[in-house]
């Protein structure tokens, strides 16, 4: 089990991640920065703290944006590996906390395919594989691969003698 699973996600997922990261970061930035910004506009008296507050927020935002766009996303992509063997699912992911999961297909109870607006725009689907004890998500698979996962899970679930 030394070597990582061979398959990588569809490269288009990097764009999806970038977009969704940007959206999330922007929302967080707006939520946090709005207080300082309003205070900055509202009254001159608050400038002693609201000015550095706003500056720190903006700098953090820009730095994080650049970091996520240029470093985190490619690393995450490189770390995200999976393998659909004929009877089990092997997933390795995580940048700092590296995790490796083995899910036998006979334990899989159902597989869901989801397509958010961003994923749909790129023609991808995310597959959620649920067992009786939680679920794992493969975020970016092409439509045919998603079908493949679903079929395998369904087929092997029939072989399983008992649930839980």
């Amino acid at each position: 089990m030394k070597e990582l699973p061979p398959n990588q996600l569809d490269p288009k997922i990097k764009a999806v991640w970038r977009i969704s990261d940007a959206v999330v970061l922007t929302i967080i930035f707006v939520c946090i920065g709005l207080v300082g910004f309003i205070a900055f506009l509202a009254s001159e008296d608050t400038r002693f703290w609201s000015l550095p507050y706003c500056i720190v927020c903006i700098v953090l935002y820009v730095v994080l944006m650049v970091l996520f766009m240029t470093v985190v996303t490619p690393v995450r992509y490189a770390r995200w590996r999976y393998e659909l063997s004929h009877d089990f699912l092997d997933i390795a992911n995580g940048i700092l906390w590296r995790k490796r999961f083995i899910v036998p297909f006979i334990r899989v109870q159902n597989t869901d395919t989801k397509q958010g607006p961003i994923l749909r725009a790129f023609g991808l689907a995310s597959v959620t594989v649920s067992t009786a004890a939680g679920s794992l998500e493969i975020p970016g698979l092409s439509a045919e691969e998603a079908d493949q996962v679903r079929d395998k899970a369904a087929e092997l679930a029939r072989i399983a003698k008992e649930d839980v």
């Binding site: 089990m1 030394k2 063997s85 004929h86 009877d87 089990f88 092997d90 995580g94 700092l96 906390w97 590296r98 995790k99 490796r100 999961f101 083995i102 899910v103 036998p104 297909f105 006979i106 334990r107 109870q109 159902n110 067992t131 009786a132 004890a133 939680g134 794992l136 369904a154 679930a157 029939r158 072989i159 399983a160 003698k161 008992e162 649930d163 839980v164």
Partner: protein
């Protein structure tokens, strides 16, 4: 499993159930070419469902027991809300003397209570009409609801456990609540039937497990249903005995004292010969135990449990047995639910120790000590303040007598007394809880019954066991005992019925304790007796690497260490205080010298506490390092986590849902990994973890977790 020769019924090869979502009806399988016989039956499902799907009603005590349950609450409510205003109004009018005003208001209160009770009964009566359950071919169905109709369908094969709960009043009446647990998910609630006649409850238990067994053996739902309809009530037992013949018997190493032959004499269907145990000893024991006189119904002792053959017994077993033999007014006759092949109880010593060192008692004692120390201190302070204010010389003398040793004495006595009282209370509570504790193997399930006043009986199918857990608290480790339990999947708490009071609401636990206080060296024997299917010879072969020790010390002592962080806080406090100059203290009306000594004493004692706590944590970390490890063999993985207390978790390979190995950057540097075994135990999932196993071992385990196609599991 059953061979095809069972009752001459053609048995199909294992028919795969579609992985339908919970509660969806199980459709008959598409006809397979091999089984020509079942094909016509399935082509016309309407015809094939026999008209014998009988509607079973609950017992009529469902209606009036609810009313009785409501009385105390209604009485309190009406007394509180009605008596004072009514009396006041009647007194204001001045027509009546005050005494009769009170009397009138009391009478009104009682009337109100009765009306409330009546309303409850009426509502229960209406909802009673719409509550019934059925054994349909593929699933157990429960119908309820007046306006919001609720139909719950549980495929037999998804049933995890069938539990019987009896409160004191239910026990007197002879009914109980039956809970049917299905495979987990917090959104998935168990089916709860209140007020089921005891006879009926036993029948439900037998019926469900038998049908499940038949379905597991490869028959289709329709065949099972036809079979069950064909078999008379009495013959079903024989059928089950036949089925269970396929279950491996306990190995020779197990003492045979607890093994009973299956009852052989049920030849005439529908009737049960009374067991050969004379009624005399029962009557005697009930008198001896001071229990109320036996009810009018003939008490029938379970033929399978002669008291002499019980493997272990304690002082509370007899009263518990007497209590469970009293079947209550509407209990009905005992239904034989299968042969017991192994049984284990608690002996006197085990019961005593379990009650003495139980977790709850320890926590209670700790809380009690804290509370009593505080109350004692505040009492003493009050005394001193009061006496300070007194001018009287005598009081003054007494106040000065309240010197430090005297105060310590008072505090000590109060603490001691409260400890004894709390401990005694929790001891009694645990005794009542574990009184009559019996775990037994009955057919294809493990049954655990316990409780003297209220009684709980849990039946769990063998192949629903998610893990086998041995836990040792610190006390148990000192004594060489442990708690043995089986992990199980539980549904969420049963949904409250629309009009029920919260009477028997206890959440099912994710572990079924089969022995609360067992000698550690008897674990293998008990597991082999209760579940011969699980021969656990797996050993934790992989100890933790050296690096884990260093990491554990850092983790336990510094990152999660109480002592370390307390020391940090104290240091910060000291720094902060030392900045304050003497003038501030004088301004606040305090002498700087006194403040300095006070602070020094506080800081030093807190530092001492830190040192003690750090030492404790360091010892704990070292112990954890020495005792922990994991291992696996063909069928099981075992995780051992040591420390002051210890837990050993054995998970069958086919119950692992997700296997996971995690590594953070520091773990990568140290070449260790966290092993996570995720099972479906509990309501959603349970993660059994072992931190800092050697990475090579962890990777080897992960490779082991990959399904072996050659193996059919």
């Amino acid at each position: 499993m059953v061979g095809p020769d069972y009752q001459g019924t053609p048995v199909q090869p294992a028919d795969p159930q579609p992985a339908s979502s919970q509660g969806a009806p199980v459709q008959p399988e598409p006809p397979q070419p091999a089984s020509a016989q079942s094909a016509p039956a399935q082509s016309s499902p309407a015809q094939s469902v026999p008209a014998t799907v009988e509607r079973h009603k609950l017992h009529h005590s469902f209606i009036w027991l609810q009313g009785i349950n409501v009385i105390p609450l209604a009485l309190v409510v009406s007394v509180v809300s009605l008596v004072p205003p009514l009396t006041a109004i009647l007194n204001d009018t001045g027509v009546l003397p005050p005494a009769s005003a009170t009397a009138i208001s009391l009478v009104l209160t009682i009337i109100t209570t009765l009306v409330l009770c009546g309303i409850t009964i009426a509502i229960s009566a209406v909802s009673y009409r719409y509550i019934w359950y059925e054994f349909t071919p593929g699933e157990f169905s429960f119908y309820s609801g007046i306006f919001n109709k609720k139909h719950a369908h549980v495929p037999y094969q998804r049933i995890q456990s069938v539990n019987q709960k009896t409160s004191l009043i239910q026990r007197l009446v002879g009914v109980c609540s039956v809970e049917i647990d299905t495979a987990g998910g917090s959104s998935n609630t168990a089916i709860s039937l209140r007020s089921v006649q005891r006879e009926e409850a036993e029948r439900i238990r037998r019926e469900i497990f038998l049908r499940k067994k038949l379905l597991d053996s490869g028959m289709t739902a329709q065949e099972v249903h036809a079979e069950m309809a064909r078999l008379g009530d009495g013959v079903r037992l024989q059928a089950e005995a036949l089925i269970n013949a396929g279950v491996p018997v306990p190995p020779a190493g197990v003492p045979s004292s607890g093994a009973y032959p299956p009852p052989a004499s049920y030849s005439s269907p529908g009737t049960y010969p009374p067991p050969a145990v004379p009624a005399q000893p029962v009557a005697q024991t009930s008198v001896a135990a001071g229990a109320p006189a036996a009810p009018a119904q003939p008490t029938m002792q379970s033929p399978a449990v002669p008291a002499a053959a019980a493997p272990a017994s304690n002082v509370l077993d007899m009263p518990a047995e007497v209590a469970s033999d009293m079947r209550g007014i509407f209990g009905g006759l005992e239904v034989e639910t299968g042969a017991v092949t192994y049984e284990i109880g608690l002996n006197n010593k085990e019961l005593f120790l379990a009650a003495l060192t139980g977790k709850t008692s320890f926590a209670l004692v700790l809380a009690g000590v804290v509370v009593s120390i505080f109350s004692a201190i505040s009492l003493v302070i009050d005394l001193r303040i009061v006496s300070d204010g007194m001018v009287d010389a005598a009081t003054h003398a007494m106040a000065s007598a309240l010197s430090v040793p005297f105060v310590m004495l008072i505090v000590g006595i109060i603490v001691l007394v409260s400890i004894v009282i709390i401990w005694a209370a929790s001891f009694l509570g645990t005794c009542l809880y574990y009184g009559g504790f019996k775990a037994c193997r009955r057919g294809n399930r493990v049954e655990v019954g316990q409780g003297i006043i209220s009684h709980n009986l849990t039946g769990m199918d063998i192949d629903r066991i998610q893990s086998i857990t041995v836990t040792q608290s610190f006390f148990q480790r000192l004594l060489g005992y442990c708690t043995l339990s089986y992990g199980r999947v539980t549904a969420g708490t049963p949904e409250e019925n629309e009009y029920s009071t919260a009477s028997t609401q206890t959440t099912a636990q994710d572990k079924l304790v089969v022995h609360p206080f067992l000698k550690l060296d008897r674990v293998d024997e008990v597991v082999a007796g209760l579940t011969p299917e699980h021969q656990i010879e797996v050993k934790p072969d992989f100890p933790l690497p050296k690096k884990a020790c260093r990491r554990a010390l850092i983790r336990r002592v510094i990152l999660q260490g109480f002592g370390f962080w307390l020391a940090v806080m104290v240091s910060l406090f000291w720094l902060g205080v030392s900045v304050v100059d003497d003038a501030t203290w004088i301004e606040a009306g305090l002498a700087p010298a006194a403040v300095d000594t006070g602070i020094t004493i506080a800081v030093v004692s807190l530092y001492a506490l830190c040192v003690v706590s750090v030492i404790f944590e360091a010892i704990g970390a070292l112990q954890w390092y020495k005792m922990s490890g994991f291992g696996f063999n063909n069928r099981y993985v075992v995780l051992v986590n040591g420390g002051y207390s210890r837990s050993i978790v054995v998970v069958p390979r086919n119950k692992i849902q997700i296997s996971c190995v995690q590594r953070n950057p520091l773990q990568r540097a140290a070449d260790v990994a966290t092993v996570v075994v995720i099972t479906a135990q509990g309501t959603s999932a349970k993660r059994e973890t072992l931190i800092d196993a050697a990475n090579d071992d962890a990777q080897r385990w992960l490779a082991w977790a990959i399904p072996r196609t050659s193996q059919t599991n």
